[in-house]
Every structure is written in C-alpha cells, then in structure tokens.
C-alpha cells in the first residue's frame, strides 16, 4: 500500500536513501580521517570494505548474530589495517601503491572465501523506526534507520572531541603534521601510524558488514562500487574534520540514492548517468577544493597525497 505523492516521492526517496547509503561512507571516512591525520593514506580501504562485507556476512551466518558478524568484520579490518600500516613503515615503501595492492588483495581474498556465502541467507541487522508518527508509508520507510548510522554519528562527535581536547588526539595530529616534532617530543611515530591505520581498517570492516547485513543486505561480488575509495576523497573534501565527514557522507549518500529514487518513480532513461552522480560530485568537489600552489587548508603536513 502506497500513498500517491507525485513528484514529492523523489526527495523523500533521496532522503531515505541518503540515510541508508551514507552509513558506509561515514564509517570509512571517519576511519580514514584518523589514518590521514597520522600522516598516512590507505587506499586499500576499498578492499577492506569488500572483505568486511564477506566476513560480516559469514560471521552472522555462522554465529547467528549479526552484531557478532559486525565485530568479526571490524577485526578482519584491523588485520588489513595492521598489514598496511606495518608494510608502509618500511623505508622506501609508498603508501599509495600499497593501498592499491591491498585493494586487489582484499577483494581477491573476499571473493575467494565468499563463494559459498552467496546462496545462504544470514540474519540481518535490525532497524530502528523513527517514522511511527506519520501515516505516509514512504515517509515511514525513509525513516527506518540502522543503529550503525547512529553509532557512526556518535563516533564522529567522539573523534572531533578527541582531536580537539585529548592527549591522544594531539599525539596523532602531531605525528601527522611533523614527524620531527613528534620524535623530538619522544612520541613513537610508527606505532601511532600503525594504530591509526588499524583503526581505519576496523571502521572500513564495519562499513562492509553494514553493506552485507543491512543495506543492500546481501553478499555478492558487486557489493561495493567504490564506496571505500570515494570515502577517501571525501575526507579531503571534509578537510580532515570528523563532523564535516558526517555532512559529506550524507551528501554522497543522497547523490548515490538519486538514481534508484528516480527509477522508482518511473524515470529509467539515463539511469547509468544518475548512477555516476556521486563520482561526478566527488570530482567536481575535488576540483573546487584543490589548489595548484598551496597545500590544502587543514591537511596533515606529512601526508604524501598533499605534499
């Protein structure tokens, strides 16, 4: 049963889509924000995301608990993060290139072990309904929110607080801004960076579990379409600010939901072009926020990508 909303169905579907689609962007970008603040960039989060989707789905299937699945996905992400962090700590090893390799490795291992998981149905994560007050079914559907989305908002606030007000946040920022200064102060640079990359891996693993256990809510080899990578670009757009990451994730979620929303009201021509909207948006944003001559405002100064 649906109420005829006419053209209003599109913004409503975009809103609902934004809330659903933005969560993986939010988790990956928050994790990557911490990694980049410490002076490293991990492009391999795309592979971690796919592996997390597989591990989360498999974990939920085997244990019967979707939340254990999320935890397993996060821990698998930690392993990938530790591997990236450790390998990049060797002299002369390029973190961007290692990220590309980890993207390939993570995806490959996920597909390898994920083959038998495509058929069976794993228990899904529950949703919290915020639309009970409304009679419009589309609105109620749009306001079905995953608890992970709310946890993501909480993590964004906590990270912002950590960077501004805590000793740990200050150490991470210092290691990312000037390794020399951190060394002079006696802080261990490599452990901080490896830890920050492991945290990024954890968040990307959880984001993957969200994909396979909530929305779209299945495991297959097309589960991710570059969300892990877009999220890395999104951190640049958000100027390494966790709260801004949340806003950026919502914006990208909305852009990603545009194609399916238009399709749901019968606009099918140019579907692929709408599907490309988040990528085009990212590119346009990068164009306007980058600069030829100076480093980006707020960029960690040890970051290879902005040096």
């Amino acid at each position: 049963m649906t109420t005829d909303l006419g053209i209003w169905a599109v913004p409503l579907a975009v809103l609902g889509g934004a809330l659903r689609v933005s969560t993986p962007f939010l988790f990956v970008s928050l994790g990557e924000c911490v990694t980049e603040k410490s002076g490293r960039i991990n492009l391999g989060l795309e592979g971690t995301l796919v592996f997390g989707a597989m591990a989360g789905y498999g974990g939920s299937l085997l244990t019967g608990s979707p939340w254990l699945g999320v935890l397993i996905a996060g821990l698998a992400g930690v392993l990938f993060g530790l591997m990236h962090g450790a390998v990049c700590s060797l002299p002369r090893v390029n973190d961007i290139a290692v990220g590309i390799a980890m993207m390939l490795l993570g995806t490959g291992v996920a597909f390898f072990f994920g083959k038998p998981l495509i058929q069976p149905a794993a228990p899904m994560l529950p949703a919290i309904s915020f639309g009970g007050w409304s009679d419009v079914p589309q609105l109620r559907a749009a306001l079905e929110v995953s608890p992970l989305f709310l946890i993501g908002i909480l993590v964004a606030v906590l990270l912002a607080f950590m960077f501004k007000r805590t000793r740990l946040g200050l150490i991470i920022r210092m290691v990312g801004d000037s390794a020399d200064a951190a060394r002079a102060m006696g802080y261990p640079i490599l452990p901080v960076r490896i830890g920050a990359t492991a945290f990024g891996g954890f968040m990307a693993g959880v984001a993957g579990a969200y994909l396979s256990l909530y929305y779209p809510g299945s495991w297959n080899e097309h589960i991710s379409s570059g969300q892990g990578l877009i999220a890395v670009a999104l951190v640049i757009f958000a100027r390494w600010n966790p709260i801004a990451c949340f806003g950026a994730a919502l914006l990208f979620g909305g852009a990603g939901a545009l194609g399916p929303a238009l399709q749901s009201v019968g606009v099918t021509s140019g579907y692929y072009l709408f599907y490309a909207a988040p990528y085009i948006l990212t590119l346009v944003i990068l164009f306007f926020t980058s600069s030829r001559n100076r480093a980006l405002d707020g960029a960690p100064r040890e970051l290879s990508i902005t040096k």
Binding site: V93, A97, A101, L105, L273, L283, L286, F287
Partner: protein
C-alpha cells in the same frame, strides 16, 4: 676537497676506492634481482596460502605452467590475453615516469572500445584500412583526452591524480553502459545490450602463422617505442628529470606542465587503443564484456615492471599467462575463480615490499660494501 674527504669515515673512503661493482652495474643488477626475488617470495607465499586451504601448491604451479606457457597452444592463448595488458600497463608506467600514479586506465580502455564501435558503425562501407585507422584514432583520442584530463586536473588544479583517475574510470564505465544500452544499442541485441556488430572488414585478424591477433604485436611495439623514448631521447630525459624533482626541473626551464599533459595523454591513448583492439579483434562490438579489469591488471604489471616500459613485456606475459591458466586451475583443482586475484594481490604486495631492499640487497649479500654509493 681534500679537507672534506678527510672528515669522512675511513670505511666510506675505502669503499670509494675499491668498489666491487660500479654504480650503474649495481643499479642494473638490483633492478633485475629485487623484482625476481619478490616474484619468488610472492609465489612461495601464495603456495603457503594454497596449502592452507588444503590444495597442492605443486599441482597449482604445474597447472599454471601447462595452461599458460607449457604448449604452443597455451602460449598463443597467453599472448592473446597479454595484448591489452601491455597497453594498459603503459597507461600506468608512462605517467609514473613523472612521479604520477594513475590507476584509472580501465576508464580509457572502455571508452576506447566504445569510440571504436561507434566509429566503425558510422563508417560502415568504407575500406577496411580506413575503418580500422579511424577506429584506432578515435579510441586513442578519447582515451587520451580522458587521462589527459587527469593530468590537466593535476597540473592546473593540484587534484590528486590517483583518486581523480579512478573516479573518472567509474564515470567512463557509466558513460559506456549508458551509450551501449541507450543511444548506440543494436535493437537486435536482446539478452546482452551491445552496439551493432562491426563490419567484417573492420575486424583485426591474426598474425600470419599464429593464432594470436595483431593487437599483441601492437602492444609489444608500443612498449619498445616507449622504452626508446624514455632512454634515448631528450624528451624522455626531460621527463626523467621532472619525475625526479619537479621543482628543480621547472627551475631548469623544463616545461613540466606540458610534459605532464603529454605523458598522461599518451597513457590514455595507449589504454584507449587497448580498448579498440579488444572491440575490433575479440568482441566485435562494444558491450559489458569490455569491463573485464584489464585496466586494473595493468596497474599490477606496471608495478611489477617497476614502471620500466621494456620490462612490461615479460611481466605482462607472466601475468597474462597466469590469467590464461586460470580456467584450467579452476576446473582441475576446484578452486574459485578469485584464486588468480589472490595471487595477483600477493605478488603486488611482495613487489612493493621489495622496494625497501633497493640499495641494501647487494651489500647484504656481500657483493658491494655497506655504505658504497
């Protein structure tokens, strides 16, 4: 000068006086030894992985040898698979000469294929040579524009080329699918949306006496030309200087911006040409089969070749052979098709980790003294 030397530690002076190997020889030897070592270690680690999942590594290596290199039939199959990889690897290696990491070759590849199919359909009825030349030009032009734009974004706006090229790959794939399923769709293609089939005289045939299409020869020649340009021309020399230190190159009056545009455009043209070849020699029309990951495999090959255009040829044959053997391995050993991806991922990580050995491997083996220049 003599004052400076006297302040150096004695061991350094000794090493300078009696170098076991000259600087150039040491670099060349390392450039071969280190990737070789990384390949062996990577293959070994993959063997451990295969053993851990309960299969026989020996059987795997043997099947890869049989399916990729062991017979004339499998070798020809490997060369056919290698053809697009040679060109997509160049799409990574050329910008890398300037220190840029471009990973969006897949986008230029599918657009090259699309441009070839559109041009071929449009020119139907023209002589074969004209049609093939126009298709190649169109594909190279569109691919060149696509990756050239990545270079321009980098040079004029400081947009990171790694991220922008990958975003543009996703956009290119969406564009290709839009045209193949919309404006350029052949109404007769029901189950698999495709552009109309190319006229027969626009198809690229096999090299005489072989079961391998001309695309392989084109790819090898492209790598040889790129190698020649890099090592034997002032243009390549300028690029190597700019890649070493862009600021110093600009101070010397080298046109860094034009070099970036030229190299990224050439890179895109190479990947675009690979797409043209895939359409004209293999697919016969543009369709979703173009999105087969050739662009991404090219990244791996370029890094395995340490961005050296000539080294791309053996590395592309190696990876092409492993991929060609994939089907046989899958059937005989009951392994998922992603096995090849896992192997590629492990090799990729191994080769990157091995970079840390450069300048340290030979001293460790006792072939040169520690601290030798």
């Amino acid at each position: 000068m003599s004052e400076m030397q006297s302040t150096l530690p004695t061991s350094t002076i000794e090493a300078r006086r009696r170098p076991f190997l000259g600087e150039v020889a040491r670099r060349r030897l390392e450039a071969i030894l280190i990737p070789l070592l990384a390949l062996i270690i990577g293959l070994g680690l993959f063997g451990v992985f295969i053993a851990l999942v309960g299969k026989s590594p020996e059987a795997f290596y043997y099947l890869v040898y049989r399916g990729g290199f062991g017979t004339w039939f499998s070798l020809q199959n490997t060369m056919t698979r290698t053809a697009p990889l040679l060109l997509t690897a160049l799409c990574v290696a050329l910008p890398a000469q300037l220190g840029l990491i471009v990973i969006g070759g897949e986008g230029a590849f599918v657009l090259g294929g699309l441009a070839a199919a559109a041009t071929g359909t449009w020119l139907a009825g023209a002589p074969g040579v004209v049609g093939i030349a126009a298709m190649a030009l169109a594909g190279m032009a569109l691919g060149g524009l696509w990756i050239g734009a990545v270079g321009a974004l980098r040079h004029y706006r400081g947009v990171n080329e790694t991220i922008s090229s990958l975003l543009m790959a996703y956009i290119a794939i969406a564009l290709m699918q839009h045209f193949v399923e919309g404006p350029l769709r052949d109404p007769a293609s029901l189950n698999k949306p495709s552009t109309p089939p190319l006229p027969g005289n626009f198809r690229i045939g096999d090299i005489p006496g072989m079961d391998v299409h001309w695309g392989f020869a084109v790819g090898v020649v492209a790598c040889l030309v790129a190698g020649f340009v890099m090592s034997r021309t002032t243009f390549g020399f300028a690029a190597r200087i700019a890649g070493g230190n862009a600021r110093a190159a600009a101070v010397q009056g080298l046109p860094v911006g034009r070099l970036i545009l030229a190299f990224t455009a050439a890179a895109g043209a190479a990947a675009g040409l690979a797409g043209v070849i895939d359409v004209a020699a293999v697919q016969g029309s543009a369709n979703a089969s173009l999105i087969a990951g050739y662009g991404y495999t090219g990244i791996l090959i370029a890094f395995l070749a340490r961005q050296n255009p000539l080294a791309i040829i053996p590395m592309a044959l190696l990876i092409g052979g492993i991929e060609a053997a994939g089907g046989l391995v899958q059937r005989r050993m009951d392994l998922p098709d992603a096995t090849v991806l896992v192997l590629q991922g492990i090799l990729f990580v191994a080769i990157l980790v091995s970079e840390t050995l450069s300048g340290r491997l030979l001293p460790a083996l006792g072939l040169t003294r520690k601290g030798a220049p």
